[in-house]
């Protein structure tokens, strides 16, 4: 009479596909996740300010835009969509289906990575068109940097979305997006003045931006920045697990 649950993989992929399509069909999300990173990349590559540090400017601009793409999708987009889904009772309803809470979190991870893959292809192509010629040996550590950055920012996005009202999530996520641009995402943290440079290097924005620049431009394996990102992912994940409220 009743049915069984679909296979776990199918459940997660179905939800991930739904979330990805919803995000890509949303004009504001597209603006933040795709259009603005592309505009920032073009502006940085073709302009001469701000100082992006030593190295080919097109490479540095592409690295900064890739880091911005992570912040846009894994943090701002995910916080806002999860916050409003929580207010509408979507999270609670999905918790009663075979998808469950674990499946929903897995699907969100897959959706973020799907959009990020699209962003990497777009920004990579645009960066190449603007003259970026990254070190081939830097591709793998760049992907690691993007993955670790995504993990840290998704954890923080869920913490925000699961603890504040939807309107507050919208305001904080958008404000944070603007502030983080200047805290190591687009330009190296060591370009910042004095103590702010140290603080920014320990923030997920600075660690991500520096990690992507070091790996993408120099082909380096930025272990210390990765350690900072892992720490934010773990702390954010633990806090989310403790304080996340599924209901509104």
């Amino acid at each position: 009479m009743s049915t069984a649950a679909a296979a776990a993989r199918r459940r997660v992929l179905s939800r991930a596909g739904f979330e990805t399509r919803t995000l890509l069909a949303n004009g504001e999300q597209l603006l933040v996740s795709v259009l603005l990173p592309c505009l920032v990349l073009a502006g940085l590559a073709l302009g001469s300010v701000p100082d992006l540090g030593p190295g080919p400017r097109a490479d540095l601009a592409t690295a900064g835009a890739l880091a911005l793409a992570v912040v846009s999708t894994a943090f701002t987009g995910q916080a806002i969509s999860t916050g409003f889904d929580r207010r509408a009772g979507v999270l609670r309803l999905l918790g009663t289906t075979p998808l469950g809470r674990g499946g929903l979190l897995a699907a969100k991870g897959v959706a973020v990575l799907s959009v990020l893959a699209l962003q990497v292809v777009l920004l990579g192509a645009l960066g190449a068109a603007l003259g970026a010629r990254p070190d081939a040996g830097g591709i793998l550590p760049t992907l690691v940097s993007l993955l670790l950055g995504s993990a840290a920012f998704v954890a923080l996005a869920l913490l925000l979305a699961g603890t504040l009202r939807a309107e507050a999530v919208l305001a904080v996520a958008n404000l944070a997006w603007v502030l983080l641009l200047g805290l190591g995402v687009l330009a190296p943290t060591d370009q910042l003045p004095g103590g702010l440079a140290t603080v920014a290097a320990l923030l997920p924005s600075g660690a991500l931006g520096d990690a992507v620049r070091l790996s993408f431009v120099d082909g380096a394996w930025p272990w210390s920045q990765w350690a900072v990102l892992v720490a934010w992912a773990v702390v954010g994940g633990l806090l989310t697990r403790r304080f996340f409220r599924w209901g509104g």
Partner: protein, 236 residues
């Protein structure tokens, strides 16, 4: 106590408020149970414990012999849930949403039939945020019916529906019970309870103040009279 749904001495508190204070009742397969009570009586908290959304502080709940808090995907595939707030993403369109939800089940109910019967095809291209309350209710009900559930929890399923749509929903609920499902309907409508339910449970101040068949609960009076007498007493 036997049944598809069992509530035993359930207690659940939030900070200084006791939402459910030792409630016990059960519901069997092939029946419709109406859960009545004023706001704050503990109905929604009780049902949320049964849906696995809240964990009891004391006592126990079972659905199909399983503790819902620890239930896995195959158990949840046997239970249909319609939440009071709907749980529909505001930017989604009904068909895309229902197709996605259907993919969570191995053999869901035929979507086209469900959509046609609930009249969802009339507003298939409308996003949830632009739908009326009644249209949202119909989509939420379709989502709850997708698994062809053995147990169906409906929280105010006809709130905001016009009379024709209400009759259609009642007919659907009866069909589910005839098929063998255990249906639990939370409602404020005496008419809905009288026309749908085999069994009535009235809650007040976290306790069950009446539990039985419609005739047993009424005892020769109107359901409305009994309800006001019982819930006013509990409120005092």
């Amino acid at each position: 106590m036997t049944g598809a749904v069992l509530v035993r001495e359930l207690r659940r508190s939030f900070a200084t408020t006791t939402a459910v204070d030792g409630a016990s009742w059960s519901a069997g397969a092939g029946t419709v149970t109406a859960l009545l009570g004023p706001n704050g009586a503990g109905k929604t908290t009780t049902v949320e414990c049964l849906e696995g959304l809240q964990r009891p502080d004391a006592g126990s709940v079972q659905v199909l012999g399983v503790d819902p808090w620890h239930a896995g995907p195959d158990h949840r595939a046997r239970v249909g849930v319609m939440l009071q707030e709907g749980g529909l993403p505001t930017s989604s369109r009904p068909l895309a949403l229902l197709r996605h939800l259907a993919a969570l089940y191995a053999e869901p109910a035929p979507l086209d039939e469900l959509v046609a019967r609930l009249g969802i095809d009339e507003f298939a291209r409308t996003t949830v945020r632009r739908m009326s309350g009644g249209q949202r209710q119909r989509v939420a009900l379709a989502a709850a019916l997708l698994p062809r559930p053995d147990v169906l929890f409906l929280d105010e399923p006809t709130a905001g529906l016009d009379p024709h749509a209400r009759l259609e929903v009642w007919d659907l609920v009866r069909t589910e019970a005839t098929r063998g499902a255990c249906v639990v309907v939370t409602t404020h409508s005496f008419e809905e309870a009288e026309r749908l339910a085999n069994r009535i449970v009235i809650m007040a101040a976290g306790r069950v103040v009446a539990d039985g068949t419609l005739d047993e609960v009424r005892g020769g009076r109107s359901l409305e009279d009994v309800y006001f007498a019982l819930t006013a007493r509990a409120a005092r």
